[in-house]
C-alpha cells in the first residue's frame, strides 16, 4: 500500500508536493471511483496520497470589490449557501451529482479531474474564472481556458495545487444554464451550456457562451462572441444561423454508451438558438 498522509496545513501540503509526486485528495468522489478495485481490498492508489479535505485554511468564500474568492476545499454544498456565489455557478452545482456527493465534493476536484463533462467548468468558463495554482516557490493565476490543455490534462505541475478559484464579479443582464444529462440526478452530461450577456444602450456589450461535453475541453470562442459585440438584438437574431454554424465547427461530439453525435450536435444547436432567443 502507498503512503497516505493527512496534511495539517497548506504549507505542509506544498512542502510535501515539492519533494515528490502525490495524489491530491479533496472529496475523493472522482478518485475513489477511478481507483476502484474488488470489494474487501484496499484502494490501489498508484502514488502516495495527500488528504487535503480537512484544510480549514482552504474552506472559505470571500467577497472583494471586484472578485469572489473560493477556497479550494470548500464543498459544493457549502457553496450553495453563499449569496455571493453567482447564479450561473449555483445552477450548475445544484444539478451536480446528488446531495451526499455534493457534501464532500469540491470545485477544485471538478477542475483537477479535468473531465470534458465536468459540470462546474462550463459556468466557470463563462464567468472568466481564474485558477490559483500554488507551489512552495510561487503562485500562478491561470485563466480557466488556459488551465485545461487537452483531454483530461491541466496546466498544473506535480509540485502545485489549486488553492483558490477566483471569479470576477459580473453583472449580466441575463444568463442561461442547461445541463442535458441522462437523468435528473447523478447524471453525466451529454451536453451542457452556460450563456450570459449584457446590453448597454440597446447594443450587446457582453456575450459569452460555453459548451461542455462536446469536445476534449469546454468550448468557448472569444472570436465568435466578438462578432456580436456592438450589435443590436435584431442584428444578432439575423446572425443566429451563422453563429450556430461557427460554433458547430468547433465541436467534436462523440458516439458513446450514453448518446450519439447527431443528438449532441442537434442539442448544441438548439441550446445556442434558445439562448439567442432570450436576448431582449
Amino acid at each position: 500500500m502507498v503512503e497516505q498522509i493527512i496534511v495539517k496545513s497548506v504549507e505542509e501540503a506544498l512542502s510535501r508536493l515539492s519533494e515528490r509526486k502525490y495524489i491530491i485528495y479533496a472529496g475523493g468522489t472522482d478518485l475513489i471511483v477511478q481507483n476502484r478495485t474488488v470489494s474487501e481490498a484496499p484502494i490501489p492508489f498508484k502514488n502516495p496520497v495527500l488528504y487535503c479535505a480537512n484544510l480549514k485554511e482552504l474552506k472559505y468564500v470571500k467577497e472583494g470589490d471586484d472578485y469572489l474568492y473560493i477556497g479550494a476545499m470548500t464543498t459544493l454544498s457549502e457553496l450553495l449557501t453563499y449569496e455571493s456565489v453567482p447564479k450561473l455557478l449555483k445552477e450548475a452545482i445544484e444539478q451536480m451529482a446528488s446531495p451526499a456527493i455534493r457534501n464532500i465534493a469540491t470545485l477544485a476536484g471538478n477542475l483537477g479531474n479535468a473531465s470534458p463533462a465536468g459540470d462546474s467548468l462550463v459556468p466557470l468558463y463563462t464567468l472568466n474564472a481564474l485558477i490559483k495554482c500554488q507551489s512552495v516557490k510561487a503562485s500562478r493565476l491561470i485563466p480557466i481556458q488556459d488551465f485545461f490543455v487537452g483531454l483530461k490534462k491541466t496546466a498544473l505541475t506535480d509540485s502545485e495545487m489549486i488553492t483558490e478559484i477566483i471569479i470576477p464579479k459580473n453583472r449580466f443582464k441575463s444568463t442561461m444554464y442547461r445541463k442535458v444529462g441522462t437523468r435528473k440526478a447523478d447524471a453525466l452530461s451529454k451536453v451542457s451550456f452556460a450563456g450570459a450577456y449584457s446590453i448597454v444602450h440597446d447594443k450587446i456589450c457582453d456575450f459569452r457562451i460555453s459548451i461542455g461535453a462536446v469536445n476534449v475541453t469546454v468550448v468557448r470562442r472569444f472570436d465568435i462572441e466578438a462578432k456580436l459585440i456592438g450589435k443590436t438584438i435584431e442584428q444578432a437574431q439575423k446572425m443566429k444561423n451563422q453563429i450556430i454554424s461557427l460554433y458547430l465547427s468547433s465541436i467534436k461530439p462523440i458516439n458513446d454508451q450514453r448518446s450519439n453525435i447527431e443528438y449532441r450536435t442537434q442539442v448544441t444547436k438548439n441550446l445556442i438558438s434558445a439562448f439567442m432567443d432570450t436576448l431582449d
Binding site: 471511483v33 478495485t37 474488488v38 470489494s39 474487501e40 481490498a41 490501489p44 446528488s98 442547461r178 442535458v180 441522462t182 437523468r183 435528473k184 440526478a185 447523478d186 447524471a187 453525466l188 451536453v191 454508451q257 450514453r258 448518446s259 450519439n260 447527431e262 443528438y263 442537434q266 442539442v267 438548439n270 441550446l271 438558438s273 434558445a274
Partner: protein, 695 residues
C-alpha cells in the same frame, strides 16, 4: 377482526435500517478463501489452451474437469454448461474459477492468464430459432380473408437490467461430505436441485440457506444456480470455506437480463372498422442458451391481446439464440414486451381509423365470461370498467388529453390497461412445482411457517406472518418465519411469477385454518400440498385452455413533458388503479406499486442497454441509467378489492402487475406530447429527436 389490509410495521424494518440484517457479503469464516472468475473475452470460440502465470501452491484452479456430476446447470433446458468443456459462446461467460486467500493476487492471476482461442463465427442476428410456439384461437385465416383493411406495425423493446443493489453472491462451506451454501437467491430449491445434479449428491449432502436478499427482480431466479454449481464444485475440491461475490461490472456483463423483443402485429379490420382478428409474431433474444426463455416466450404470447378480448387470434413466437449474454427472468417475464406491443397497437389502429382510442379500446376490453387469448375462461369478476373510471377521474385524463393534443403544448398523458396471470404459466404449478408447505407449532406455542419463499424486499416475511397470526388469532410475535434453509423447510416452490401470496400463501392459509380447527396444546405439524383446481385445464402442446388460475388487473396513467430544446422527458405524475384481489398489507402493496411503476416507466423511456458485437456497452451504474428519486414523480395508487376465492383473504398476484403497464403508458404519453407514433422503447431523447426530425 381488523381489516387484513390495514398496514403494520414491516417486520424487518429495524434490522434493515439499523444495518443488522446479514447479507451474504457480511458472512465470513476463519480460513476462508475467495473465488474469482476467469471470463471469456470473445463471443464465440474454441478454447485451445489456457496459459497461467506461475501459480502459488495455495491457489487453486477449478474448471469442468472437477465436476463430479453432470456438467449441466439444471434449469429447464439442459443447454447450459457449468464450466465450458471446449467452446465459449458469449463475452463474459465464466470459464473457470481461481480460488485463494488473497483477492488482489487472484485478480492479478486472472489478469495475467492468457486463453488461446480459436475464433468461431458468432451470431448476433435473430436467425437461429431454438424454440418456436404457435397457437390459434377462432378462425384467424378466415378473418384475414374477410378483412377490408389490414393494419400492420412492428414494435421493438430493448434489454432491461434488474439492477438489484446487492450483486450476486454466495458463501459456502464443506463439512463431513456436506456442501452448504448461503446465498442471495430467490429460489433455494432451484439451487439445491442444481447442486445435486452437478455434484452427483444425495438430498442430505447439500444444504442451501438464504441470506437477506438486497433485491432480485427475477435476476436471482435461475442465474444463481450457475454460480452455485461452480462454487460447490470448488468446495468439494478444496474443502475449505469459499466466498464468491460478483463485482458490479462482472455482474452486469454476465448475468441474465430482460429479453429484447420484436413483435410484428397485424390486425384484420372489418368494414365498420372493427377488429376481426389479430396476428402477432414475437421474437425474443435468448442469448447464448435457452434457459428460461421458452417459458418467457409463452407468457409473452399468451399476452397477445393483453386486457382485450379479440375473437380470432394467431400467435407465434421464437426464441432466437445469439452469442450474447443469456437472458432470463425479470419481473413481468415476457409480458412487458407484448403488453407494450398490443396496448400501443390497439391505440394505433384507432388512430389510423380516426376513432377516439379510448372509446375504441373500451369496445374490446375483456369481460367476465369471455374466452381468454388461449380459449380459457375469465371466470372471476373483472372490474376494469370501474377501475378505468376511477383512473380517468383522478388523473383528469380526458380534460388533459384534450389540451395536450393541441400542437406545441409538449405535454402528454397516456393510459395503459393490462392484466397479469398469477402463478406459473400453464400447468407449471402442478407438473413442475407441486408446492408443499408446513406449519409447525412448537412446545412453546409458537407457530413456525415452513416454506421456501424468499423475502427479497417485497415484504413477504411481514405478510406471511400477518396472514398466519390473523387466521390463528394470535399475536404476530408468536409467528416465526426464518430465512429459508432447505434442511428445514419443504419445497414450496420458487419466489417468482407473483405466486408467493396467492399460491404459497393460499396453502399456508389452508394449513392455518386446519390448525385452528384442530388446535391442541403443545406441538402440532400440519402440511398442505398444491392441488390444481379441477376446472383449470391446459394443453401444453396446443397452448389452449386456462393459462393461469387467476389474473390481476391494472390501469396506469402517466403524464409527461417533453423539452423541445433537448428532447428530454420529464415524468410529471403517475396514477394507478389495481385489482389484486385483496391487499394483505396495504403499505407493502404500495411499496410494490411505487417501485414497480417506476421500474416499468423507466423501461419505457430511460433505461438503455445495448451490445456491440456481443459486448454490453453499459456495465455499471454510471452508464446504465435507472431512475433516481429525482426522476420519480408524485404517484397515486388506488387498490380496489375484488377477492379471488382461492387466494388467502382473496389475494392474487402483486409484484409483476405493477411493472408491466408502465412502458405502454409512458410511450403513449410521449406520443401525445410529440405528435408522433412510437414503436420502440426506451423512447430516449435521441429517438425523440429522430421522430421529430420528420415534421
Amino acid at each position: 377482526m381488523a381489516d387484513i389490509s390495514k398496514s403494520i410495521e414491516k417486520v424487518d424494518l429495524y434490522e434493515k435500517t439499523s444495518g443488522e440484517a446479514k447479507y451474504v457479503s457480511d458472512f465470513s469464516y476463519d480460513d476462508m478463501l475467495y473465488a474469482r472468475t476467469l471470463r471469456s473475452t470473445v463471443a464465440k470460440a474454441k478454447i485451445k489452451g489456457i496459459r497461467f502465470p506461475n501459480l502459488p501452491e495455495d491457489v487453486h484452479i477449478v474448471d469442468y474437469k472437477d465436476i463430479p456430476g453432470k456438467n449441466v446447470v439444471k434449469i429447464i433446458f439442459d443447454d447450459q454448461e457449468i464450466f465450458p468443456t471446449e467452446v465459449v459462446t458469449y463475452i463474459g461467460q465464466p470459464i473457470l474459477l481461481v480460488v485463494g486467500k488473497n483477492k488482489e493476487l487472484l485478480e492479478e492471476i486472472i489478469h495475467n492468464t492468457i486463453v488461446d482461442y480459436e475464433l468461431m463465427t458468432p451470431i448476433f442476428d435473430w436467425v437461429s430459432s431454438a424454440v418456436h410456439y404457435h397457437f390459434q384461437k377462432g378462425k384467424p385465416e378466415e378473418a384475414f380473408q374477410k378483412a377490408t383493411k389490414i393494419i400492420e406495425y412492428v414494435y421493438d423493446t430493448s434489454y432491461q437490467e434488474q439492477a438489484y443493489i446487492e450483486p450476486q453472491g454466495f458463501i459456502g462451506t464443506y463439512e463431513e461430505g456436506k456442501v452448504t451454501l448461503i446465498g442471495s437467491i430467490q429460489c433455494p430449491y432451484y439451487v439445491k436441485n442444481a447442486l445435486l445434479q452437478a455434484l452427483d449428491s444425495k438430498g442430505d449432502e447439500v444444504r442451501v440457506i438464504q441470506a437477506t436478499v438486497g433485491g432480485a427482480f427475477g435476476g436471482k431466479e435461475e442465474f444463481p444456480s450457475l454460480m452455485a454449481c461452480q462454487l460447490a464444485v470448488a468446495l468439494k475440491k478444496i474443502k475449505k470455506p469459499i466466498k464468491m461475490i460478483y463485482e458490479r461490472e462482472e455482474d452486469m456483463i454476465s448475468t441474465t437480463k430482460r429479453h429484447p423483443s420484436k413483435s410484428k402485429m397485424s390486425a384484420a379490420i372489418g368494414e365498420n372498422g372493427e377488429i376481426l382478428a389479430i396476428k402477432s409474431n414475437i421474437g425474443i433474444d435468448g442469448g447464448a442458451n435457452i434457459g428460461l426463455s421458452g417459458v418467457v416466450l409463452s407468457r409473452a404470447m399468451i399476452a397477445t391481446t393483453g386486457a382485450y378480448t379479440i375473437e380470432n387470434i394467431d400467435s407465434s413466437g421464437d426464441v432466437f439464440l445469439t452469442n450474447t449474454v443469456p437472458n432470463g427472468a425479470f419481473r413481468g417475464f415476457g409480458a412487458p414486451q407484448m403488453l407494450f406491443a398490443i396496448d400501443l397497437f390497439i391505440e394505433h389502429i384507432a388512430k389510423d381509423l380516426g376513432i377516439d382510442p379510448l372509446e375504441y379500446r373500451l369496445k374490446y376490453l375483456a369481460k367476465q365470461g369471455d374466452p381468454t387469448s388461449t380459449n380459457g375462461l375469465f371466470r372471476d369478476p373483472i372490474i376494469m370498467p370501474e377501475m378505468i373510471k376511477k383512473a380517468l377521474e383522478i388523473s383528469k385524463f380526458k380534460e388533459k388529453a384534450k389540451i395536450f393534443s393541441r400542437p406545441n403544448v409538449s405535454k402528454g398523458i397516456g393510459m395503459s390497461w393490462f392484466l397479469h396471470g398469477c402463478g406459473f404459466t400453464g400447468s407449471g404449478e402442478s407438473t413442475h412445482i407441486n408446492a408443499l408447505v408446513k406449519l409447525h407449532k412448537t412446545k412453546e406455542e409458537n407457530v413456525e411457517i415452513l416454506i421456501a419463499a424468499v423475502d427479497m424486499g417485497q415484504g413477504v416475511r411481514t405478510t406471511m406472518r400477518k396472514l398466519v397470526a390473523s387466521l390463528l388469532e394470535i399475536p404476530i410475535e408468536k409467528v416465526i418465519y426464518d430465512l429459508p434453509d432447505t434442511d428445514k423447510v419443504p419445497d414450496s416452490g420458487p419466489t417468482v411469477a407473483s405466486r408467493t401470496m396467492m399460491i404459497v400463501g393460499g396453502l399456508v392459509a389452508r394449513c392455518a385454518k386446519k390448525m385452528k380447527d384442530s388446535w391442541i396444546p403443545g406441538e402440532m405439524l400440519l402440511e398442505e400440498r398444491y392441488l390444481q383446481p379441477s376446472y383449470i385445464k391446459w394443453d401444453e402442446a396446443t397452448m389452449t385452455g386456462d393459462a393461469y388460475p387467476a389474473y390481476s388487473w391494472g390501469v396506469n396513467v402517466v403524464e409527461v413533458s417533453v423539452d423541445k430544446t433537448t428532447y428530454e422527458v420529464s415524468v410529471n405524475e403517475i396514477w394507478s388503479v389495481y385489482d389484486l384481489g385483496k391487499a394483505i398489507d396495504e403499505r407493502i402493496v404500495i411499496g410494490q406499486a411505487d417501485g414497480g411503476i417506476v421500474q416499468g416507466v423507466a423501461y419505457g423511456y430511460l433505461e438503455v442497454m445495448n451490445h456491440s458485437n456481443g459486448k454490453l456497452l453499459q456495465k455499471n451504474f454510471t452508464d446504465y441509467i435507472i431512475p433516481t428519486s429525482m426522476d420519480a414523480p408524485k404517484m397515486t395508487t388506488v387498490i380496489m378489492d375484488n377477492p379471488y376465492p382461492l387466494g388467502p383473504y382473496g389475494a392474487k398476484g402483486v409484484g409483476e402487475l405493477t411493472l408491466v403497464g408502465g412502458a405502454p403508458a409512458v410511450a403513449k404519453a410521449i406520443e401525445m406530447a410529440i405528435g408522433k407514433k412510437v414503436f420502440s422503447i426506451p423512447v430516449t431523447p435521441e429517438k425523440i429527436m429522430e421522430l421529430m426530425k420528420h415534421e
